[in-house]
Amino acid sequence: MIRMEGVSKRYGDVQAVRDISFRVDKGEVCVLIGPSGCGKSTTLKLINRLLSADSGEIFVADRNIKEFRPELLRRNIGYVIQSIGLFPHMTVAENIAVVPRLLSWEKERITRRVDELLELVGLDKQQYRSKYPAELSGGEAQRIGVARALAADPPLLLMDEPFGAVDPLTREALQQEFIKIQRELKKTVVFVTHDLDEAIRLADRIILMRSGEIVQSDSPERILSRPRNRFVRDFVGTDRVLKRLSRIPVDRYMLAARRITLRAGGKSTEHRPGRGRNFFWVTGEDGRLLGWVDTRSLDGRHPVESVMTRIDPKTDALSRGATLREALSRILSRNVRTIAVVDADGRLVGEIGLSRIEKATGEVK
């Protein structure tokens, strides 16, 4: 989808990008990362011609970008920046509609598209359409920024530290949202960040840069397990194992959960206590996680409700989309050995314990 061949760019005396070549395949998320001043943002801006290269060639969809008028090229490439850049004098709907309007779409088509996109980024269309950027939170504004970039359904998306300006919690939510959207849309994405965790989480491929040159270009797994040189090793840091865990979704290693289902009327347990098993998860008839119960309390005389420990699935269980790294941190912080995994509606889908995480770290080495 994108091909860079021997591209260089300098600002005055500073060589920002030095003879770099790489390609990004269709549908791939390619993350450019490196210390500040390494040329990652410059590289990104060369692709949509916000900057022009001093030498070398850049191809998008096999056509040299010099063949396009810059504005026309940019209308076909979604662009998201850190400071979001929503136009304060336009409503949310008008902001999203910027590119479709430049492409002179019909009015109804634009309205439909705006609604579609608001839904896609998880914002209520009735509520947000006519709001102004000043009325949005950082996370909401960033979602609108992404929606704007996707408006004309460009095959290629450039994102320049898009989640850099929001708090860590919001950032995590936005990253999950991004993964979900990307799974659905399969865009080709070039993503600039300085946050390694973010890169490892989102990337199909990471391009690590230093002083305008590419140091290593590999899958996140390989960057973590086979750093090419000392710089990469230092950049990746000492917690490589932990970082690798954040690439692994929890549902790949979780086990089936043993459970007791509470039936209406308050009785009825389905599972007999098994060997080596000292507790059961308790769910409602609809499968929603309610709590857990110690096998020793199940003497058949007391109803399960009276002896179980209630828990809140929102805080005491993991969501299905979580990573092993989150599982580990949750287990350690709650001081338990096993933690339940629930789906979006709070239904119990499995469980994961420390031993499974250990097994996973052994396998990925």
């Binding site: 949509n48 916000l50 504005e71 026309l72 090229l73 940019r74 209308r75 662009y79 920046i81 850190q82 400071s83 979001i84 850049g85 929503l86 136009f87 304060p88 004098h89 336009m90 409503t91 910027v98 590119v99 430049l102 102004y132 950027p133 000043a134 009325e135 704007r148 970039a149 450039l158």
Partner: protein, 432 residues
């Protein structure tokens, strides 16, 4: 209890002293004819001394009521009411007295307001301005909530906090007070004038003598100022954009418009006479348009040049204030240079540009007065005629409308700008 009472009391004291002093200055000036020198008329010749002393006593009683009792009506309200009554009374008494004096002194006699009246009006003005300014701080005092009896909070600790609470429910009430304070005396005086009560004051005699001319010069004045500002917008906004966009030009444009401002307007009018006269002689088309060395052409030209600075500078500054990331976002999403300007840059700079237009227009209304010297018309005509004939009231007939026009234009444009500025930007300002 009243945080602002100290300041308001000081204002009351100043206004009171001014009002008191004014009583010892002549109230009116009586001249046997329009151009002869006049004889002062003291207050007590017009108003019976008992009424004067009684009125003053009532006035000072209410003025210093907040000094005496710590509670009671809000000082701002008292000030507003007193200021309005005072202003109204000066004109009412002046008009009535003028009628009587004119009848006594004959057909050609002229009566005009003298130093005492003006000083009294100044006192009234100070009271009204102070009232309008201090009303907001008094909002929450109108609905004090006392702590429950059981709690014994030290007053000094609890009350200031309560005073800073926003009291939204009293906002409409505040508007009404402000409007009635600002407009009350004006409305009263207008009613007096329309009823013919002021007809014998010299200022109005001058007005009735040249009523048609007055309205004609009003349109002249507005036309000159408006035309100049219109031309300055058409020229100045692109100049500001050019200065912003092209660095080498910036160093020429901004100092030039700055420099022009420093030329005295009279000199600029004079400088334009020769070249325009030449143009008019050489190019028949321009001559047919009415372009001459004197008249409207040099006036509009000079006024336009003066009006350029605020507009050009504000356009330049307004564009410079735009967050660079917005420009990058605009370019990155595929706006061309012109589209970016129209859809992003100009709307965002609009509030600042319009503020420049507002300044320009108010300035131009003042500057236009001088244009009368080169035969362009406008209210300056009366001012300079008044100078020439040594008739102060004629000067006032020219000067007062200019002040009224400038203030009205300022308020009106401010209001219009509030309507024009995009809602999203106003929200941003409130958040900031």
């Amino acid at each position: 209890m009243f945080l602002n009472r100290g300041r308001e009391n000081a204002v009351s004291a100043v206004a009171g002293i001014l009002a008191l002093c004014s009583l010892f200055l002549p109230f009116l000036l009586l001249r046997p004819s329009r151009i002869s020198s006049g004889a002062p008329v003291m207050w007590w010749r017009i108003v019976p001394p008992t009424v004067l002393v009684g009125g003053a006593a009532v006035f000072f009683f209410f003025l210093f009521l907040p000094f005496i009792v710590r509670r009671g009506p809000r000082p701002a309200v008292i000030q507003g009411l007193l200021g309005n009554i005072l202003g109204f009374l000066v004109f009412f008494a002046g008009g009535t007295a003028a009628a009587r004096l004119a009848a006594e002194a004959g057909e050609f006699a002229r009566v005009s307001l003298a130093g005492g009246s003006w000083l009294m009006l100044l006192a009234a003005y100070i009271l009204i301005v102070s009232a309008i300014k201090n009303l907001p701080a008094q909002k929450s005092v109108s609905a004090p909530k006392h702590p429950p009896a059981g709690e014994s909070l030290p007053a000094g600790e609890s009350l200031p906090a309560r005073e800073s609470l926003p009291a939204r429910e009293s906002m409409p009430a505040r508007r009404i007070w402000t409007l009635s304070f600002a407009g009350g005396a004006l409305a009263g005086i207008t009613v007096l004038a329309l009823a013919g009560q002021l007809d014998n004051l010299s200022l109005l005699r001058e007005f009735y003598g040249r009523q048609d001319r007055f309205w004609g010069e009003l349109w002249n004045h507005l036309g000159l100022a408006g035309g100049a500002v219109g031309a300055a917008v058409i020229l100045g906004v692109p100049l500001g954009m050019l200065a912003f966009r092209v660095k080498p030009l910036r160093k020429i444009i901004l100092p030039t418009v700055n420099l022009v401002q420093t030329i005295p307007s009279l000199a600029l009018f004079g400088l334009l006479i020769a070249p325009l006269a030449l143009l008019s002689r050489e190019i028949p088309f321009l001559r047919q348009l009415g372009v001459q060395g004197i008249g409207w052409a040099p006036a509009v030209l000079a006024l336009t040049v003066y009006a350029l600075l605020p507009i050009t500078r504000n356009t330049y500054e307004g564009l410079g204030l735009i967050d660079p990331s917005l420009r990058e976002a605009g370019r990155g999403t595929g706006f061309g240079a012109v589209q970016l300007l129209i859809h992003v840059e100009l709307p965002l700079a609009l509030p600042v540009i319009l503020a420049g237009v507002r300044i320009s227009f108010v300035q131009a209304i003042g500057n236009t007065t001088v244009a009368a010297l080169i035969g362009a018309g406008g209210f300056g005509v009366f001012v300079f005629q008044g100078f020439g004939q040594a008739v102060p009231d004629l000067i006032l007939l020219g000067a007062l409308p200019v002040i009224v026009l400038a203030v009205t234009a300022d308020r009106l444009l401010g209001f219009l700008i509030g309507l024009i500025v995009p809602r999203g930007l106003r929200l941003g300002e409130e958040a900031a």
